[in-house]
């Protein structure tokens, strides 16, 4: 837990808040004054942040950005992953079957 007068949090190995509390390196709590910096990307955080507390609710960082900044919404037809498997020879059905088959394949374990 952090006290109300905490003014800065750094994330990463052995990170501490300014009030001396240890901080989970995969979570981040933002003060109101830091929120705009987070949304516009100017708040730099060391390490990976999996959750962010925003308006008293824990959310995923990208979800927060997406909800507040419409321009940050991705165009799924214009990202590198779109079409990256276009050259695969398997049909969609075959690829799905292949993925599913891995669950049922015998690996020699009982």
């Amino acid at each position: 837990m952090r006290s109300a007068d905490t003014t800065r949090i750094r994330i990463g190995n052995n990170s501490i808040a300014s009030n001396g509390d240890m901080v989970d390196e995969r979570s981040l709590t933002l003060l109101k004054i830091e929120r705009r910096q987070f949304l516009d990307g100017s708040l730099l955080v060391r390490g990976r942040v999996d959750r962010i507390q925003f308006d008293d609710a824990w959310e995923y960082p990208f979800s927060v950005r997406r909800r507040f900044l419409r321009e940050m919404r991705p165009d799924f037809g214009n990202i590198d992953a779109f079409g990256i498997w276009r050259d695969r020879e398997e049909s969609d059905e075959d690829l799905l079957t292949k993925l599913g088959a891995q669950w049922g394949a015998s690996g020699g374990f009982d």
Binding site: F62, P74, F76, I79, D80, A81, F82, G83, I84
Partner: protein
């Protein structure tokens, strides 16, 4: 602030995005504008296991930066077992286990499961499971989005 709708994307939808299906991209854009996109850890595993190169993995990392991964929890695993027992005619083999796990994750998370899988999810409704079943032969996958 009202909670936004959570859409849990089935593996088939992600595959179509990776295959460059414009209908899938349009669907994801539409749903992202209306709520939060998510994917089960099961789907994440299936996709990454089929990466062929580090470059593909980087691109797929970018995709999953935009689709919130959902962890597989004890509760969803327990529920998946129950679904497989009670819907034996539909989830009848070990190859349907991931489908049951994904369905259970949707129920536990209160998400709408977005799927092309008519066989499993349209034929025998699972109690508590909200689905958006996409007709994959349709020219426009965004039409039925709630």
């Amino acid at each position: 602030m009202a909670a936004s709708t959570n859409y849990l994307l089935d593996t088939g939808i992600i595959i179509r995005e990776l295959r460059g299906d414009a209908r899938a991209a349009a669907l994801l854009n539409r749903l992202a504008a209306r709520g939060v996109l998510s994917a089960s850890a099961i789907t994440v595993f299936e996709i990454y296991q089929n990466c062929r190169s580090p470059a593909e993995e980087v691109a797929i990392n970018e995709l999953f930066d935009r689709i919130t991964p959902r962890e597989l929890t004890f509760e969803s695993a327990r529920l998946a077992g129950s679904i497989m027992r009670s819907h034996g005619s539909v989830f009848s083999s070990e190859r349907t286990a991931p489908d049951a796990l994904i369905a259970a994750s949707a129920i536990v998370d209160g998400a709408i499961l977005v799927t092309l899988n008519v066989r499993q999810f349209a034929r025998a409704p699972v109690p508590g499971l909200l689905t958006l079943v996409i007709e994959q032969d349709s020219a426009d996958w965004t039409a039925p989005a709630p």
